[in-house]
């Protein structure tokens, strides 16, 4: 029973790794990155990055 439990544990981790890899697979679209960086630049230059932190934006630990 002990060995079977260990196999299940290992298989569970393998499943997670394979699943994560399969779902994250794919080449990133350079156009998508360009659009995001353009939006970042626009927001930065417009001074939008000085906005206050709302509760939903605060992800500090503890």
């Amino acid at each position: 029973m002990g060995e079977r439990h260990e196999d299940g544990h290992t298989d569970g981790l393998v499943l997670e790794v394979l699943f994560a890899g399969a779902m994250r697979d794919g080449v990133l679209d350079p156009e998508g990155e360009r659009r995001a960086v353009d939006a970042f630049r626009a927001a930065r230059d417009a001074g939008t990055h000085h906005a206050r932190t709302r509760r939903q934006d605060d992800w500090r630990a503890g």
């Binding site: 079977r4 439990h5 196999d7 299940g8 544990h9 298989d11 569970g12 981790l13 393998v14 499943l15 997670e16 394979l18 699943f19 994560a20 890899g21 399969a22 779902m23 994250r24 697979d25 794919g26 990133l28 679209d29 998508g32 990155e33 659009r35 995001a36 960086v37 939006a39 970042f40 630049r41 626009a42 927001a43 930065r44 939008t48 990055h49 000085h50 906005a51 206050r52 932190t53 709302r54 939903q56 934006d57 605060d58 992800w59 500090r60 630990a61």
Partner: protein, 196 residues
Amino acid sequence: MQAYDGELGAAVAGAQRGDEAAFADAYRLVQPGLLGYLRGIVGDEAEDVASDAWLEIARDLGRFKGDGAGFRGWTATIARHRALDHLRRQRVRPRPATLEQDVLELPGPHSTDDQALEALSTERALALVRTLPPDQAEAVLLRVVVGLDGPAAARVLGKRPGAVRTAAHRGLRGLARGLGAEGVTNDDPHTLGEST
């Protein structure tokens, strides 16, 4: 995720100081997991929804406070809201259920455990996720694909950590059954690296 999260934390800090290259680094570190998560809940429209999410992330970047792991949680929350908006709009304009047909055309589980665990394409992983109840699918996607810990996943979903933990375990068991993998169906609370 620890090494990546340190790198991600530094990229976010740089981006918040106005460094464009740092923002691009943050994008590359976050986008694979974010896209994988969105594929699981909106399928083919994932890239469009991710694009909407990044506009909001880029705009509200200055508001964010936290480290790399926190940034993954914050961006996942934004992406989730965009996905739910997308799904709500879709209900107004009904679309053909093509995914069910794709699932029916997939080959059955392989005969051996090794083969079942080795041959896991994106298409198959996606089809399996879509067979799960939505709460289980989201819990698994946030924990395993985005890489959030239990409390962060619970915060993104607006649920109790215990409920999310249960949903994730059930979801993983459902995926394992779908793959036909033996020995993975044990109810092992350590599988997700839980410390609590």
